[in-house]
């Protein structure tokens, strides 16, 4: 049934992406494709994969933006991974005419049943974020499953039961957890770092959040990075006797 769940459990499994530290390596996107092409939504077909104009199904895409004149006057490059935001008020679900799209009451994950999808693409029109993909080969819509075939998979070790984009990120820019519970680490992270929604004006109430890039000073402080040394600053530690003598000799006795 494509109505949104009437009695959601309150659990909202979601992702948090830290735009401050994403390095734009595309590992999440590639590993996502790798896992999901073998997973419940697979295969994720490609057309003309080795030709001049390749195209294919991707659940994760990384954009790179150049931003100028931030609030602190600086400019920088921001890498921007984007996948389904598993919205609370998911327009892709309610427009579905067949009931193939649904939002799970137990954890808020939005999924597509490939056996009843007619491939009308209306869900991709309804989604403001471009999270819906049309599989040309199979004629059905596909999307991020929040790695539902990993996170509940008892054949995997407990630490591996997280979405593959999170486990593969070398920079630790992606986080996974229950965003419906304010006491979880991920919810605290969002609160602490002023996590935000994409296009809040669309009324979709996304579950996934983004953490903003931090200004240079704030980031240095947060990361505990050492202060840059000034060339004029006298060294804190006095040089030893031998070093001082060599310095004196080489400087022509002027020091």
């Amino acid at each position: 049934m494509t109505c949104l769940p009437e009695n959601p459990s309150g659990k909202k499994l979601g992702l948090v992406t830290d735009l401050d530290i994403c390095v734009g390596c595309h590992a999440c996107a590639v590993q996502c494709k790798e896992w999901n092409t073998n997973g419940i939504s697979g295969p994720l077909s490609d057309t003309d994969p080795y030709g001049a104009d390749p195209s294919g199904v991707w659940f994760n895409r990384v954009h790179t933006y150049e931003i100028e004149d931030q609030e602190d006057g600086t400019s920088r490059t921001v890498h921007f991974p984007k996948s389904c935001l598993h919205c609370d008020d998911a327009p892709c679900v309610t427009v579905c005419p067949t009931g193939a799209s649904y939002k799970r009451a137990e954890d808020g994950i939005v999924l597509v049943n490939p056996d009843t999808c007619i491939g009308c693409k209306l869900c991709s029109w309804a989604c403001p974020y471009g999270a819906r993909e049309y599989d040309q080969a199979e004629g059905v819509m596909k999307k991020c499953t929040m790695c539902v075939d990993r996170i509940y998979n008892e054949n995997l070790s407990e630490e591996a039961r997280i979405p593959v984009c999170v486990s593969t990120c070398p920079a630790g820019a992606r986080h996974f957890g229950d965003l419906g519970d304010p006491t979880t680490d991920i919810s605290k992270l969002v609160a602490e770092r002023n996590g935000f929604d994409l296009m809040p004006g669309m009324g979709t109430a996304p579950v996934n959040k983004y953490l903003p890039p931090r200004s240079g000073a704030a980031r240095t402080k947060a990361l505990g990075a050492p202060r840059m040394l000034s060339i004029d600053q006298p060294p804190k530690k006095k040089a030893g006797r031998l070093t001082s003598w060599i310095d004196q000799v080489l400087s022509g006795g002027k020091v």
Binding site: C3, D69, G119, P128, E133, M141
Partner: protein
């Protein structure tokens, strides 16, 4: 938005078919339709043909046309599903409308009852079609006050001009009402379309690259796209070809869809050429070209907010 040919044919053909059913009801109610069985058969056949051909064509853009029946199940939440249900329901009173017209005559109470039900369900189907587009927040151009009146008035307009032609084709017209109402509905349809175009040109933008990315910076420029080549989203949602030619196309739509048929029909009643099938047919032909261009522009001009991630600054 990518203008799928099957969807353009679907909305144009079913719009005219349902508009024709509404016109048949209105004229039977007034007792102004030709009392000629060949007209009745011809008109109902045209309406059913347009509706069935349109519905079949709409399934052609599906990934799985054979599963189309499943689309009737989610009427509680989906306008697309409601459209399908309304379209299927309309066939029942429409068949009975034809039956009672042929059996009891156009002014009988049964013809009135089934005709009224047919007209209501026909308009409801067109209403649902329009609401599919109006309900999409991600496509701000469609989310305005005029989309719904344009769909309804274009349905009645195309249906009436078609009705006028069928009267000329199958019978000797006894009244000039079809001619007058054709001109009236052409004016009315393109008046709403005019408001729609003014809105699309002047409406405030609802989303920006800043709101799409949440980044607080005055200038945001895409440095690298996710892929070297276009993906599904860019082909389906970022269609640009017609948008580029929009300035040339909408005057053509107004000329073919409104100016030419109105002039031909007006001339035919001023110069007493009425009662001739050729001007009525020519007006129908020109109007169809204009309406197809209009429908093409409806899709091609509409920008989807996902294009913000791919280089658009405001939508």
């Amino acid at each position: 938005m990518h203008p799928a040919k099957s969807v353009i044919f679907f909305t144009t053909a079913t719009g005219a078919g349902y508009g024709l059913l509404v016109a048949l009801f209105a004229y039977s109610l007034l007792g102004e339709a030709p009392a000629d069985n060949s007209f009745t058969w011809g008109a109902f056949f045209s309406a059913f043909f347009l509706i069935i051909a349109g519905l079949l064509s709409s399934t052609l853009h599906l990934g799985h046309p054979m599963r189309a029946w499943r689309a009737l199940s989610q009427w509680r939440s989906s306008w697309l599903s409601r459209e399908g249900v309304a379209a299927m329901l309309t066939f029942i009173p429409a068949g009975l409308f034809l039956y009672s017209w042929l059996t009891f005559g156009m002014t009988s109470v049964y013809t009135f009852l089934f005709g009224a039900l047919t007209a209501i369900l026909s308009l409801a189907t067109v209403y649902c079609t329009a609401m599919i587009y109006v309900s999409l927040k991600a496509i701000p151009a469609w989310r305005n006050l005029w989309t719904l009146p344009v769909y309804l008035s274009f349905s009645i307009m195309t249906g009436t001009v078609l009705f006028n032609f069928l009267v000329e084709l199958f019978a000797v017209p006894t009244s000039r009402l079809p001619l007058y109402s054709s001109v009236g509905f052409l004016l009315y349809g393109y008046l709403f379309k005019g408001f729609y175009w003014v809105f699309v040109k002047s409406a405030p933008k609802v989303a920006t690259i800043q709101s799409a990315t949440g980044l607080k910076a005055s200038s945001i420029r895409q440095l690298d796209a996710p892929h070297d080549s276009a993906n599904y989203l860019m082909d389906e949602m970022g269609f640009r070809i017609a948008r580029k030619h929009a300035r040339k196309l909408w005057p053509l739509s107004i000329f073919f869809g409104f100016v030419a048929p109105t002039a031909i029909l007006a001339l035919s009643f001023v110069s007493n050429l009425g009662g001739d099938v050729y001007p009525a047919g020519l007006a129908l032909f020109y109007m169809t070209i204009g309406v197809v261009i209009e429908r093409w522009l409806f899709f091609a001009e509409a920008k989807h907010v996902v294009t913000l991630y791919y280089g658009e600054e405001k939508v």
